[in-house]
């Protein structure tokens, strides 16, 4: 039963790569957005807030189609990126990472925003009176104190990215070796006669990855809490 075929390995590796890249790229952006939403009032804030949560409530196939319209070869942004920077998303693994990043963004931002809101602003004021400019206040006080939330957001985002299916398959299709992740591989396998055993193997693998992510997040969170409040 546990004879994982090369195609299946490819899908597993691709899923891990897509989810890792999506999480690593989305995290700094997510921290910035979370900080803005937690600490600043600006015109159009509720619109930004809604836009970020949109992928959570839209049908994934709609998000995927919108990505295709925007970032496809003939899309407004996609065409420009391809012509000027040589970055292509359509039907590439990078497109899968983009789709996963967009879909997991709300889950990534929320815990980070909550943890930044929970950081005592009086500590930030104290840091300012000690000579720290706003950027250094953020780096030395806000971010370290919000670290458990950042890690929680990263794990949630990663888990969502690993499991993403609808937007990815709509945007970049289901090409073995390029855009076929674990989820789309399972989808293909259960539509193939005699694909059951292989599908089950992939199911077990995705359960293992999810469990590993949860255990890792527990461990990181405990460590971060000990560092922050280590008495």
């Amino acid at each position: 039963m546990f004879d994982i075929s090369p195609t299946e390995w490819t899908a597993i590796q691709l899923s891990l790569r897509v989810a890792t890249v999506a999480t690593l790229v989305a995290t700094p952006l997510g921290i910035g957005v979370a900080w803005l939403l937690a600490r600043r009032d600006f015109w159009g804030k509720s619109a930004v807030d809604a836009l970020i949560y949109l992928p959570l409530v839209l049908p994934p196939v709609v998000t995927g189609y919108l990505l295709l319209l925007t970032f496809g070869r003939r899309g407004l942004v996609g065409g420009w990126l391809a012509d000027h920077l040589g970055i292509v998303f359509a039907f590439r693994w990078t497109g899968a990472a983009l789709a996963c990043g967009v879909m997991s963004f709300p889950l990534l931002v929320r815990p980070i925003r909550l943890s930044i809101e929970a950081v005592d602003q009086r500590l930030e004021q104290a840091a300012a009176t000690l000579g720290a400019d706003p950027w250094r206040v953020f780096l030395t006080i806000t971010l370290p104190l919000a670290l458990p939330g950042v890690l929680a957001g990263m794990v949630l985002g990663f888990a969502k990215a690993i499991g993403e299916f609808g937007a990815t398959i709509t945007f970049v299709s289901n090409i073995p070796g390029e855009t076929q992740t674990i989820s789309s591989a399972i989808y293909s396998l259960i539509q193939t006669p005699d694909g059951d055993a292989a599908a089950l193997r992939m199911v077990v693998v995705s359960i293992l990855i999810a469990m590993a992510a949860l255990v890792a997040s527990e461990w990181f969170e405990r460590r971060a809490n000990r560092r922050l409040h280590g008495n």
């Binding site: 005592d120 009086r122 500590l123 004021q125 104290a126 840091a127 300012a128 009176t129 000690l130 000579g131 720290a132 400019d133 706003p134 250094r136 206040v137 030395t140 006080i141 370290p144 104190l145 560092r227 922050l228 409040h229 280590g230 008495n231």
Partner: protein, 225 residues
């Protein structure tokens, strides 16, 4: 020389305060709700006045008419808060070192030793704020503010959160601070005995306004009223 001439509306409460002080320790004296904390927050740059000016040694920190507002982190004004505000994720050593690092000052072990000796906190360096008593925390907060080498030190009821025994423990350190460290201070409190012991000039505040200014006789007058 500290010059304050500001007004600030905070909801229903209005502050109209004007004074200039050259004393080593300027005491801001008044009942709670007199606007003491708001005034030193403005001196620190954490609160922006609606109108007026704040200047220290001839340097303008706030001038609302000219749209000047030096941000808190560029003022070099130390602030010891009533609620202490040590950084919980840093041990005492790094709390003390924070201001030096943020101001990009060179390491000065002699200065550090002087301050930790003065405040008797050398034995606490490896502890976290969560492991300190109330009095120890307040002493570390004093050290942290001093080691950023401020040109003015604001003390907002530093004994306010302590019980009588702890107050008696900290007071001698404040006297030493006044007599041995050359940093001018603004000392906020509502206890006349503390004021008498520490302040060299007293600004009396009532409902956001300065009602008297001078030496210890200001306190006598307020008590006879």
């Amino acid at each position: 020389m500290l010059r304050v001439d500001v007004s600030k509306q905070l909801g229903e409460f209005a502050i109209e305060a004007s004074f200039a002080s050259e004393g080593q320790v300027t005491g801001l004296f008044g009942a709670s709700g007199a606007g003491k904390t708001s005034i030193i927050s403005m001196i620190a740059g954490l609160l922006r006045p609606d109108r007026g000016t704040i200047a220290i040694d001839g340097e303008t920190l706030d001038d609302c008419a000219a749209r000047v507002h030096v941000p808190a982190h560029r003022r070099r004004i130390g602030y010891v808060f009533q609620d202490v505000r040590l950084f919980p994720h840093l041990d005492v050593r790094h709390n003390l070192d924070y201001g030096r690092r943020m101001n990009r000052l060179g390491d000065d072990p002699a200065q550090r030793a002087r301050v930790t000796d003065l405040l008797d906190i050398a034995s606490l360096l490896d502890r976290r704020p969560g492991q300190l008593s109330g009095g120890e925390r307040q002493r570390v907060a004093l050290g942290r503010a001093l080691l950023a080498r401020p040109r003015l030190l604001l003390l907002d009821e530093p004994l306010g959160s302590l019980d009588e025994g702890r107050k008696a423990e900290i007071l001698p350190y404040l006297v030493r601070l006044r007599d041995e460290v050359g940093v001018p201070m603004v000392y906020v409190c509502h206890d006349p005995d503390e004021m008498r012991l520490l302040a060299t000039q007293i600004v009396m505040l009532q409902r956001g306004r300065v009602t008297a200014f001078g030496g210890a006789e200001v306190l006598r007058r307020s008590e006879s009223n």
